[in-house]
Amino acid sequence: MSADDQFYREYILDHYKNPRNYGRLEHPEISHEEDNPLCGDVVGMDFRVKDGVIDDVRFHGRGCAISQASASLLTERLKGMSLEDAKKINKDDVLGELGIEISPARIKCALLSLKVLKVGAYGLADDDEE
């Protein structure tokens, strides 16, 4: 197995080619999109939240394998999780899930979906307080 195959591990390629929870939700409680203008990656997420729990989640976007696989993996993890727990997910969790060594040049790709989650989740919290 070459170094490339290790970097683009089978399940990352699988998540890239067959993204889980891909698409949009109607009337989501939270909807947020972020892009990485440097490379043109885009990731957006829609969340349906019931009693503080993420009932359903979908992501959409385009970009490199790392950004899209990372978003796909994150949605799998988020389903059924409380919003409070979701807010606690950090970059080590996301990088750990990818399970590959991410170079500094690609770290923004890997963490784009986490940024969407964070800004989206905290944005909703702000709305609640108003």
């Binding site: 970097f7 043109g40 970009g63 490199c64 394998a65």
Partner: protein, 405 residues
């Protein structure tokens, strides 16, 4: 055309970094520097490191002489009329900002038209957007046709509206398109416009004659032409530079400073405030010597040969889309995309094979939007590029296609 054989193997020996085994295909981003350039800089650091224009001792005089010697080398290299027209800057970006500030703020007024092109680099767009917003001026962009070449019919129409400024790059960094600069400058001058040519991608790769070109301003960077980062050039016609305001103010750009007011230094020092990038300017002089030694016609001929070879090789790959004109009308830059593989993923896979490839929007986001892509992969070539490096690129692409199949 140079009658000497272009000896790439000998040239490569001057670039120690190539011994690491990399296939460096990102020279449009920044070039490598030969020993001659780093050597000239080291000599300054180790033998006459001191400040210029100020000190009365021997090493400072030597530093000043070497620093100023670059000006004449550059003048001859681009065939300017006088060294007074050669202003040192940090690079193309600072040179264009200098014009936007020193010329633009004085000459652009509300309602004026500025013509740029969709091929321009951000550094030749954003300074004009800021100026236009400040002055209430208006910007129009010349579009490209399906071959990636500027639409001259549209340019001619825009010129009828009497633009105050026309600014464009001679060579597109993102697609390699060589624009018909001489014709465009002549047409813009006939329309009464002041003309700035962004020479960042042309100066390193082909002969440049600013007087034949006929432009008012010409900007380029040292680091793309074998020189160090931090040293670049603004050429400006003397009468325009004379009438312009200084860009930055401070030490060394003045004649006398009194509490009542200040008189500025003569050209070109009026635009060179503060302690300059002395070693870098000396390094740029050595880079100009190096390129002059090779002959710019020979440099262009070599790059054309490599570009032809690469264009052919890449055209053979299924699912690969090339952007821009055929090799004869492009510089040593090839932008492309692969079906189903993002440029970043390709660049990462190529990197595993020590192939250095650019992936991204190439600081030309309006062009990427126009092409309806978020990013492209880009291979770019220079004096040290050889065909086996293109072969390595091709095998990296095939490897990426295998992984993503």
């Amino acid at each position: 055309m140079s009658t000497l054989t272009f000896d790439v193997a000998a040239i490569r020996k001057d670039f120690p970094i190539l011994e690491t085994g990399i296939a460096y295909l990102d020279s449009a981003n920044t070039s490598q520097r030969p020993r001659q350039v780093t050597g000239a800089m080291m000599e300054y650091f180790e033998k006459f490191n001191s400040n210029i224009h100020r000190a009365a001792y021997r090493i400072a005089e030597e530093a000043t002489v070497r620093y100023e010697a670059t000006r004449e080398k550059v003048r001859a290299f681009i065939n300017a009329a006088s060294t007074k027209e050669i202003v040192y800057t940090r690079g193309t970006t600072e040179a264009i900002n200098l014009v936007a500030y020193g010329w633009g703020r004085k000459n652009i007024r509300s309602g004026d038209l500025i013509i740029l092109t969709i091929l321009d680099h951000h550094s030749n767009i954003v300074p004009w957007q800021i100026l236009a917003a400040e002055k209430g001026a208006h910007i129009e962009y010349v579009d490209i046709d399906e071959k990636g070449e500027l639409r001259q019919d549209q340019f001619a129409e825009l010129l009828k509206r009497g633009p105050k400024l026309v600014a464009f790059n001679l060579v597109s960094n993102a697609m390699g398109t060589i624009n018909p600069a001489r014709e465009m400058v002549a047409a813009a001058k006939r329309a009464g416009a002041t003309v700035l040519v962004d020479g960042a991608q042309s100066t390193p790769h082909q002969p440049v004659d600013v007087r034949a070109l006929g432009c008012d301003f010409y900007a380029f960077s040292g680091h793309k032409m074998l020189g160090p980062t931090g040293a670049g050039i603004l050429y400006g016609r003397r009468e325009l530079l004379e009438a312009m305001d200084p860009f930055q103010a401070g030490g060394d750009m003045i004649k006398t400073v009194r509490i009542e007011g200040t008189t500025y230094h003569d050209l070109p020092w009026k635009f060179e405030a503060g302690t300059q990038a002395i070693a870098e300017v000396i390094g740029l002089g050595a880079a100009v010597d190096y390129l002059s030694g090779l002959g710019m016609d020979a440099v262009r001929a070599h790059e054309l040969e490599i570009t032809d070879y690469a264009y052919e090789a890449l055209s053979d790959i299924d699912g690969l889309k090339l952007y821009g004109p055929p090799p004869s009308r492009r510089a040593g830059v090839i932008s492309f995309s692969l079906e189903g593989i993002h440029p970043h993923d390709l660049a990462t896979i190529a990197d595993r094979d020590q192939v250095c490839l650019r992936a991204g929007h190439h600081c030309a986001m309006p062009l990427m939007t126009r092409l309806n892509v978020a990013a492209t992969a880009r291979a770019s070539f220079y004096v040290y590029t050889q065909k086996d490096e293109i072969d390595r690129l091709v095998s990296s692409i095939r490897e990426a296609q295998r992984i993503f199949a």
